[in-house]
Amino acid sequence: MAEYFGAAVADIFNTMERRFIPEGTKGVDTVIGYNVSGEGGGYWRVTIKDGTIKVEKLDAAPTGCTVVLNAKAETFVGVTLGKMDAGEALSSGNLKVDGDITVLITVLPKAFNKFTPIVKARTIVESMKERFRLDKAEGVTMKLGYDLAGEGGGKWTIAVKDKTCTLKEGLDSDCSVVLKMTAQTFVDLNTGKLDGATAFTSGQVKIDGDIGAAGNSAKLFAKFDTGEEKAKGEELISLKCLPTINQRYATGPVMGKWFAGLKEKKFYATRCPSCGRVQTPPREICADCRVRSEEFVEVGPNATVTIVDLVYYASPDPLTGKIRETPYAAVFMVMDGAGKDQSVSHFLNPKDFSRIKPGLKVRPVWAKERTGNYEDLLCFEIDD
């Protein structure tokens, strides 16, 4: 099974019920779909309802979900383990969210204890070189063999000589002692789930060779760190919350004229009675002249591009809470008939990303249903 950062995608879902915190999800009623692509990926659906959880592996893309998370397998594991930044993953498109993203922010952190990768025998053996204790190795020469049976098992030889430790695959014929057990027993012994003496007396571990050397070997290596202590023992507490106070922003008769115009596919600007400049969107005052602008003039609908920028990082639209598709282009342009330095901005049609440049003419692309808001205008595109 494909692994990323020492964990498989399935491990994350298989441990969900064990990691679930019923008290954290009182009153929650949500269905989260997962579409994990690439090796080791698949479809899952997680239903959380008032302190209960149901995790299902599906054969097809999940339906009927509050939110669906789409990710590459590596990204999914990386973000879950905190090895990859969720914001960057969203920006790069490796992680996409369809539906109510607030569920992921508000529900998930309270619903689960942190996932830690399932420890593999190989991981423990390979960490022995790092755990080798120089201070205990003075004058010790030995060869320690491991013969681990079953899934995740294998054969390894650890050689200690002249205060160095080497590891290789396979069993040397001249091992001082060979420890035989299943890979699972080996993992349990190293993660504190099984007591050594019990394992030996119950026959779960067989020692072939010098029993004394087997006993001595234990103190040559520091304890294996499962990482679980760290996950549990957060000392600094931070509170996550999403303060929300609904607002009703007034547009007034001036800014409001712009939005009223959009409904009729028209663009309105104000003309300064003093300097004559034509400003879009319209505003109450000409800041330069400090006089009220009360005359409306129609401008556009076409415009000339002044500057364009491509935005790659993901951010939610504050009006809808949805994450904008990235990359998107913010195009600044002067509407036909508006003042030279009075540009307005909107989105650029993605089909024009490669061709857009200052000086080009663009035209508006209108929404079918227009209600007098920002989304009445879908975008602008090159007028050719």
């Binding site: 106070i245 609904n246 607002q247 547009t251 008769p253 001036v254 109450e284 005052i285 400090r290």
Partner: protein, 380 residues
């Protein structure tokens, strides 16, 4: 010593729901009013080029909200600074700017639109820390109720006396063209209006309001350019008390007494009861009128209840504007207080003009239950 003149004041009429105007447009009305009164320009050499704004980011739901309104403050290409506390402090900034010699004329403008948010109480809940205060729902209203209860106990304030404060506020508000809640009310209506947060009832609390205020301040030398009837700002002081309620004695008036002491000292006032004949206090809730009058020294400590029965508020011309109870928004509450004092001392208060007023005290507060107090003294 240099003197600071208030040359002109402009008030936007307070209303409960100015849905039809952006707050920028409210400020533009105020700006044009001041310009019409004084001929103020923003010419870099001969006009005003220093502006102090006053607004609150949470009520505006914008970060650094002044940046989105400088056009209507005349601040385009000029100096601008924001007072995020109650607006009376914006006047304090302007006064310091002039006394320091940095500028000789300053335009001050503040606004607050409480109706923009779904709930004023939710906004003031955000003033509290997210760990202890917010989860238990603290906001300026229910924290004031704690203080109201303790104060009523201390100063023997009865329900009838509280109701009298509101009835009188509405009577004066009816004569103030800028007030919001002007309908007359009777004692019984106040005493039996629905309970918001015991002991504070609906009519004890200031109504949700929108408003904007502008001031032109200048040095004594320049004031005559703008007005024939300057009012002098002669004293200013403020004081900040503990943030955590549990660290404060809710009825000691400590911060207010300190703020008043500082302002009176600056104005050279020894006995405020003899010097001042005009007072505007920021009474968001009815109990605050006698309580702040105790803190300011017009009423003896612990005698607030009796002070009302003895017509103390009438004796000192307290809140002839109608006060906060007649509906000014938070943040600019102090600017509306000062505006009333200035109009009265100029003799331009119209229908509610008091006779022979020469010295007025404006007080404002922000933070739950009077955490922070500001006091300013004005003289004709």
């Amino acid at each position: 010593m240099k003197r600071v003149a208030i040359c002109a004041v402009a008030q936007h009429k307070c209303e409960s729901n100015i849905w039809y105007k952006r707050f920028q447009a409210m400020l533009l009305d105020v700006l044009e009013d001041i310009q019409a009164q004084t001929g103020m320009t923003f010419d870099e050499d001969t006009g005003v080029h220093t502006i102090v704004s006053n607004s609150d980011d949470v009520f505006d739901a914008r970060t650094i909200s002044d940046n989105g309104m400088t056009d209507v403050l005349g601040a385009h290409y000029r100096e601008e600074e924001k007072a995020a506390q109650d607006g009376l402090n914006a006047l304090g900034y302007a006064m310091s700017i002039i006394l320091s010699g940095h500028a000789d004329a300053v335009y001050v403008a503040g606004h607050s639109k409480e109706s923009q948010s779904e709930s004023r109480n939710m906004c003031t809940n955000l003033a509290y820390d997210p760990f202890y205060g917010r989860p238990m729902g603290l906001d300026y209203l229910n924290v004031a109720a704690l203080q109201a209860r303790a104060y009523a106990e201390k100063s023997k304030l009865t329900r009838e006396q509280l109701a009298k404060v509101v009835v009188r506020a509405r009577q004066w508000a009816a004569r103030n063209p800028y007030a919001n809640a002007t309908a007359p009310v009777e004692l019984g209506e106040v005493m039996y209006s629905p309970v918001l947060c015991d002991p504070i009832r609906t009519l004890h609390a200031y109504p949700v309001s929108d408003g904007a205020v502008g001031f032109l301040l200048a040095s004594e030398e320049r004031a005559k350019e703008f007005t024939d009837t300057p009012v002098w700002m002669t004293g200013f002081g403020n004081c900040m008390d503990s943030y955590f309620l549990g660290d404060r004695d809710p009825v000691s008036n400590f911060a207010l007494k300190k703020a008043a002491e500082r302002a009176y000292k600056m104005a050279g006032i020894k006995n405020i009861k003899k010097s001042a004949n005009l007072v505007e206090v920021m009474d968001c809730y009815a109990y605050q009128q006698p309580m702040w009058l105790e803190g300011l020294g017009f009423c003896s400590d612990g005698k607030g209840g009796k002070f009302i029965d003895d017509h103390g508020p009438a004796q000192y011309n307290v809140n002839l504007s109608g006060g906060m109870l007649a509906g000014n928004p938070l943040i600019v509450g102090g600017l509306y207080r000062a505006a009333e004092i200035v109009l009265q001392l100029k003799g331009s208060a119209g229908e509610h003009q008091a006779s022979d007023v020469t010295c007025g005290v404006a007080q404002s507060t922000t933070g739950g239950a009077g955490q922070f107090h500001t006091v300013a003294v004005f003289e004709a």
